[in-house]
């Protein structure tokens, strides 16, 4: 007697997975293949349907473009710095605000507000507030303290962007860390108190190690998000001054739309894709090796 349950599990698996696989092939696989073809072609908007294969010349163009390396360096620094700052600040707030949030949970909703605002809008808002001639912040700095400070000038634009990004995304880290902090079983913390742990010991030996997996995940998510930043930076500083705040996303966007260099833009995204895949693969490898140590 053959019943459904006796059918081999792999055939059932294939049957059930088919719709998803088809969906992915059509909507992700097709554009990916087209992109791969464009990246090795000489192509413009007029010749989109007849790309002429030109080997690796697009990759060479990208590779030799100093703007590409400048943008990569910007994205890397921006992603790493904002991820570390957001996680450090989020961790600090999660631990020190948790007694307050426990009692008044609506505080969390208020703390989450920055996450609800569209990043482009945040960029626009700061662009107005920090504007050298019309913005209120430089105006009052000048009238009250006699200080003239160009927030979006060549020396400070990078740090202004870092601060803006950190202010907007710290609540995300705070949310993750607050959850992880609340999930630590109280008996384990009490056991450490019986063992003689003071506040600092508890944090260092018990709470932080138990939160470590969440911290790694938050750092990773924030790094990826910061690395491919586009909207708030684009709105706040364009890519200036002098291309100094062009992220990789902005570089690709400008190559594509402003220079019409489709092949170059696509080649840059392929490089980005391969690079991020390599990073992810490496992290995954480390994580699976570490799994033995952390629950």
């Amino acid at each position: 007697m053959t019943t459904l349950s006796q059918r081999s599990p792999s055939s059932e698996f294939r049957l059930l997975a088919t719709p998803l696989v088809l969906f992915l092939l059509v909507f992700l696989g097709f554009p990916a293949i087209v992109n791969l073809i464009y990246s090795i072609s000489d192509v413009s908007f007029e010749t989109l349907r007849q790309p002429r294969i030109s080997g690796l010349s697009n990759f060479a163009a990208v590779w030799n473009d100093s703007a590409f390396w400048q943008a990569s360096w910007f994205s890397l620094r921006f992603g790493a710095l904002t991820a570390v700052l957001e996680c450090a600040l989020g961790l600090f707030l999660a631990i020190f605000l948790s007694p307050l949030i426990e009692k008044r949970s609506w505080l969390m909703a208020i703390l989450m507000l920055p996450l609800m605002v569209a990043p482009a809008l945040v960029g626009l808002m700061y662009r107005l507030v920090l504007h050298e001639f019309a913005g209120p912040v430089p105006y009052y700095l000048w009238t009250w303290f006699g200080a003239s400070f160009s927030f979006l000038g060549p020396t400070s634009a990078f740090w202004t962007l870092i601060v803006v990004e950190t202010l907007q995304w710290t609540p995300f880290a705070l949310l993750l860390f607050y959850m992880a902090y609340q999930a630590i079983p109280s008996e384990i913390v009490e056991a450490s108190a019986m063992d003689g742990a003071k506040r600092w010991h508890k944090l260092w030996y018990i709470e932080l190690p138990l939160m470590a997996p969440t911290i790694v995940v938050a750092l990773l998510i924030r790094f990826i998000d910061g690395f491919r930043v586009f909207d708030n930076v684009y709105v706040l500083t364009g890519s200036g001054p002098g291309g100094s705040t062009a992220s990789l996303s902005i570089y690709i966007y400008e190559a594509f739309f402003k220079q019409g260099a489709i092949g170059k833009a696509v080649a840059a995204s392929v490089i980005l894709f391969v690079a991020s895949f390599a990073v992810l693969y490496g992290l995954n490898h480390i994580a699976s090796r570490r799994k033995g140590a952390v629950k």
Partner: protein, 357 residues
């Protein structure tokens, strides 16, 4: 040393009083078991002694030193939690050595102490494992090991066996008793299981609604309960409580049933007789103190619990010999062993009987 005393200790959460004016003196090396139904405040009491809960009134002294407001570490007590509360990111060795590490003891000394404790608890082969790689019983032993390496003045156990299966519970019970004999340290053990209380304790403290109902050796509590609550809480199966009235000097009437000759020490009128199932005997219907019909019987191997229904006295549990000939629906008589029965007044407190000369 390890004397612990509570003087009029109390614990209040807002307006609700969990523990009220509790006095308790625990001698060095004593094994005290605190029992009570859930919600009686026994875990709160233990956590107050540990320092994990603030004592809101009264005093707590350890070895004569006032530690009412001292943090847990200064009390030099160790606690074994119900959930074991092992540090999941540390190996067994790190778990056991954590407290010592915080005291800045040298790594060699920590290793020596952990090895010694692991040896007594048969944990040596498990020292490099993580808690999640251990069984429940092994985790429990690690939790105990973590407590003993610190050489505390007293041990606190918070229902340590309730997460284990029945067979393991019996083994661990014996091991804890053995540990107490070996270490000779003061131990306070909280449980809702009166069997654990009876088997482990030098002294049992019965708690109800934050008050001590009675304290004494298991034998005292079993033979001379101070009130109905203790009488029914200690002992399994539960003591039968039968309404009665005084019908003359040394005579009690069982609500319309027979009379029992019982010498009383005072003029107080008992209204209830407490008789344990093993102190009742099934006899022919006409020769007992009361009668009834067999409603159910539970064969337990060594003996049989026979439930006899009497319209005025309710359901009476009699412990009969295993192959008792009584069948369900049959009319039987029950004879009460008057010498072993307890008497209770209207307020539920026990009434003393004149000592049989």
């Amino acid at each position: 040393m390890g004397t612990i005393s509570l003087r009029k200790a109390g614990k209040q959460y807002g307006t609700s009083e969990i523990i009220r004016d509790l006095d308790l003196e625990i001698a060095d090396g004593e094994f005290v078991v605190i029992v009570g139904p859930s919600g009686c405040g026994k875990s709160t009491l233990l956590r107050m002694i540990a320092g994990l809960e603030q004592t809101t009134s009264g005093k707590l002294l350890i070895d004569g030193r006032d530690v009412t407001t001292a943090p847990p570490v200064e009390r030099k007590l160790a606690m074994v939690f119900q959930s074991y509360a092992l540090y999941p990111h540390m190996t067994v060795r790190q778990n056991m050595g954590f407290g010592l590490k915080l005291t800045k003891l040298s790594a060699d000394r920590i290793k020596a102490k952990v090895d010694a404790a692991a040896d007594t608890l048969k944990l040596t082969p498990l020292l490099d494992r993580y808690p999640r790689e251990l069984s429940g019983g092994q985790r429990q032993r690690v939790a105990i090991g973590r407590a003993i390496v610190r050489e505390p003045v007293g041990f606190l156990f918070d229902e340590p066996l309730s997460n284990l299966d029945a067979a393991l519970r019996v083994d661990m019970r014996l091991e804890i008793a053995k540990l107490h004999r070996a270490l000779g340290a003061t131990m306070i053990y909280v449980t809702h299981d009166q069997v654990e209380a009876m088997t482990l304790a030098d002294r049992i403290v019965v708690l109800k609604d934050g008050r001590v109902m009675q304290q004494g050796t298991p034998h005292e509590l079993y033979e001379t309960p101070a009130n109905l609550f203790v009488a029914q809480f200690i002992g399994s199966p539960k003591m039968n409580v039968l309404p009665c009235s005084r019908s003359g000097e040394g005579r009690l009437d069982l609500s319309g049933e027979g009379a029992i000759e019982l010498p009383l020490a005072s003029e107080a009128a008992p209204v209830q007789i407490g008789a344990r199932p093993e102190h009742l005997f099934l006899v022919a219907p006409e020769s007992g103190h009361c009668r009834g019909t067999v409603e159910a019987s539970e064969y337990l191997g060594g003996n049989t619990s026979v439930f006899v229904r009497n319209p005025r006295l309710g359901l009476i549990n009699v412990s009969a010999v295993a192959d008792s000939p009584f069948r369900i629906g049959e009319a039987v008589g029950i004879r009460i062993d008057g010498a072993r029965a307890s008497l209770f007044g209207a307020d539920g407190s026990a009434i003393a009987r004149r000592q049989a000369a």
